[in-house]
Symmetry: C2
């Protein structure tokens, strides 16, 4: 039931981009340095997110990435699905990669897994990056710190 590094990095990168929304394109190098994510790895991740329609990119000098939509229209669930695929613990209760199992009707494990999938997506599909930004600002106030890391 682990969150992959890929998704972890993706969430952090998008929080970073959300905190800098509407300030123009931001380079991979900057995100990588600030969030301490291996740059080459991050390249792959951001590419996937662009192809998923979550980010826009500009090539060339002064290029970089920015959100394709405002932070309140991007959910954590969307990002995690883009990178790791289905959130459901088993495919027979997955929306995006459904595969029937042998004894579906009588399978009682399936019922529980469906409950779990719903519990997880209730959180992830409701939570937007606008929410995440509010939380970052809240906790920064409390801490009276101005170090911007969204590290896990």
């Amino acid at each position: 039931m682990k969150l992959s590094k890929k998704s972890d990095y993706a969430l952090r990168a998008i929080i970073y981009l959300s905190m800098h929304y509407n300030k123009g394109a931001i380079q991979i190098r900057e995100i990588s340095a600030n969030e301490k994510i291996p740059q080459k790895f991050l390249e792959n991740i951001l590419l996937v997110l662009r192809k998923a329609g979550i980010l826009n990119s500009k090539i060339g000098l002064k290029g970089g990435y920015e959100l394709a939509r405002s932070p309140d229209l991007i959910t954590l669930g969307e990002v995690i699905r883009a990178l790791d695929g289905a959130i459901a613990p088993v495919d027979c209760v997955s929306k995006i990669s459904y595969k029937p199992c042998s004894e579906e009707v009588t399978c009682v494990i399936r019922g529980v897994m469906l409950d779990i999938r719903n519990a997880i997506t209730d959180v992830l599909d409701r939570m937007t990056f606008a929410d995440m930004c509010s939380r970052v600002r809240d906790s920064m106030e409390k801490k009276e710190s101005n170090v911007l890391t969204y590290a896990i």
Copy 2:
């Protein structure tokens, strides 16, 4: 966020043992055949469950495994933890394998992951194998089938 084969097999095996509770020891071979689980793999799994205090075993002729407690005192969460360790998506919100992360106080991802961990354990730590047995019986009635498979 996947359920491992190990946990899947373990759940099925314990449902099988729960359905046969108080009928004496049951051999690995029987469970393996009925639930279509590779026997050698199942041996390892049941051994772990015994060491975790979930099963008792008897060696020798007419030996086998049985539940160490009644099915209503064993939860799915306990079984999954015994085999796969922590249920939490990241260690910094795990009860059984907690490790602090670098920026814990300001980490906003942590907050969400904590919500998810709680949502998952709410399901898994409440659900007992007595509940699972009721569900099996319910769905068997509905299906008017007498094939006993708890397959996923």
